[in-house]
Symmetry: C3
């Protein structure tokens, strides 16, 4: 992947997931530091999981801490906005969902790309895209004790699978890597946003309580 | 451990935990992709935890992805069966429990064995057996928001401790490693199945709510 | 950090978190083995997370298993005490909280110190202190399905941030490392104990249910 686009995508993903984690903390009634912590954990969680599974240690934010600063600043902005505009709160879960979709798109493609660079087979690289894209959100949902969004019903992980697979396929053509990444991210975002807007669902089973 | 038996045990464990994870997803009302994801995560979760703690990275399913395929196919079969035979659903938690017991037996012994190969002291190797055998199930229970099975009351982790300890002891004799593994797995399965059948419990404390 | 004090602090942290994990298991109605497992997991969880993120593998308790024994013995003592003195149970969550505070103080400083030894930038080392100090408690709360203590309202992670930052600053002076560690631990403990005693809170947001 083109280095500049790669960094731009990671930047967007970090900001988006820090917003998603920060707002989830606001909604869960956490304090200011909790908002910072959850914003950071969600922003770097998926990439951290990817690095640990690949054996890329110390994990990237130790070697390249400026993205941690981006996450902290973003979460601080969430605190300010949520404090100044409490009336916007009823919609804040919607904000979380859209920020989450942008982060999903960005991190799915950077995760797939990094796994390919490590020489991982293409379809396993798609799995690393899914892990990188969804890992932070899963950690967020476990910590605020919500049912993980990845299980909620509207299409979620499928968007990551589709985008990751498209990226792997496009990389085997002569297409410019930046174009491939942009197209694949657009596909993830379009599928996920469409799923939220029109309630697209895969067939699912009825919930049962024991 | 004999290589063939080792692979057979891992195969059985992968299938059993993919069934366990897949059915847990069915019961939690997840969609088809969620069943695939949870089946795979539960199937490879314990071994992944073991590899990361030992520093065996990239983790085994990156180097040896065919077990991932086994998990995916198994979870796909769960989808088909759960769709075609919804009337079997009331018993599906029982199915999860028995599949879980088989996976527990298989992975406890492969985990203990791999830790011994890494030169880990015997009693710590038993701990790695417990981690490998119970890790996937703990992740499953956290994700579907059930109380972890390992804490539920009927004997669970004790079966893994007993089987792992037996395996370590038998490996210090001149006994064939395949025989040692088979005996140890049988012990885990017998203890866990007996605990489910006759409700064997260790002494436990009354639950309190804050 | 002075090696003896370092070991003493880790010992105190192991005991404190094993008490915290063991009592949380008692309160959750777990059986005897569950108390041992949760005591051990909470005692070594934060340090394990730190080692994995730094790439220090196999993780420390594989190389240095005597701390595992300390955790097991401590959890066994919890079982005995909780069995013999069930009438003390109404206060046992308080016991968990104070044990947790001592563990937080000890592990925050050992975690910060180890990260500095790895050449991690100072403010990221504070993050490793927070991860080491709070990681075990977060795992405990997820497993017993409580809202993570780190999010509960009274000042928690801030105590770790303050103590870790103080330690990093003092290490840049000519101050003896043992004195620096002792001072920083005292600060963590004082802030956390004060927060519990006088209900110090950071500003927080009202909880909302979707």
């Amino acid at each position: 992947m083109n280095v500049d686009l790669f960094h731009a995508a990671e930047f967007v993903g970090i900001v988006a997931f820090a917003v998603s984690g920060g707002y989830a903390a606001v909604r869960a009634g956490m304090d200011w530091l909790g908002v910072l912590v959850l914003g950071v954990v969600v922003a770097v969680g998926g990439g951290t999981l990817r690095d640990v599974l690949l054996g890329e240690q110390p994990v990237w934010w130790v070697r390249d801490p400026q993205q941690m600063i981006v996450a902290l600043v973003t979460a601080a902005v969430v605190i300010v906005v949520a404090t100044l505009r409490p009336q916007t709160k009823p919609d804040s879960w919607r904000t979380v969902l859209y920020a989450d979709a942008v982060g999903l798109a960005a991190f799915t493609i950077t995760g797939t790309s990094i796994a390919l660079v490590h020489g991982v087979p293409g379809w396993i690289a798609v799995g690393f895209g899914v892990i990188t894209g969804t890992g932070g959100g899963v950690i967020r949902d476990v910590l605020v004790r919500r049912k993980p969004l990845i299980l909620v019903g509207e299409i979620y992980a499928l968007a990551a699978v589709a985008g990751g697979a498209l990226y792997v396929l496009l990389r085997e053509t002569t297409l410019d890597s930046g174009v491939a990444a942009a197209a694949a991210m657009a596909v993830v975002l379009a599928i996920r946003a469409g799923a939220m807007r029109w309630h697209w669902q895969l067939p699912h089973f009825p919930e049962r309580h024991v």
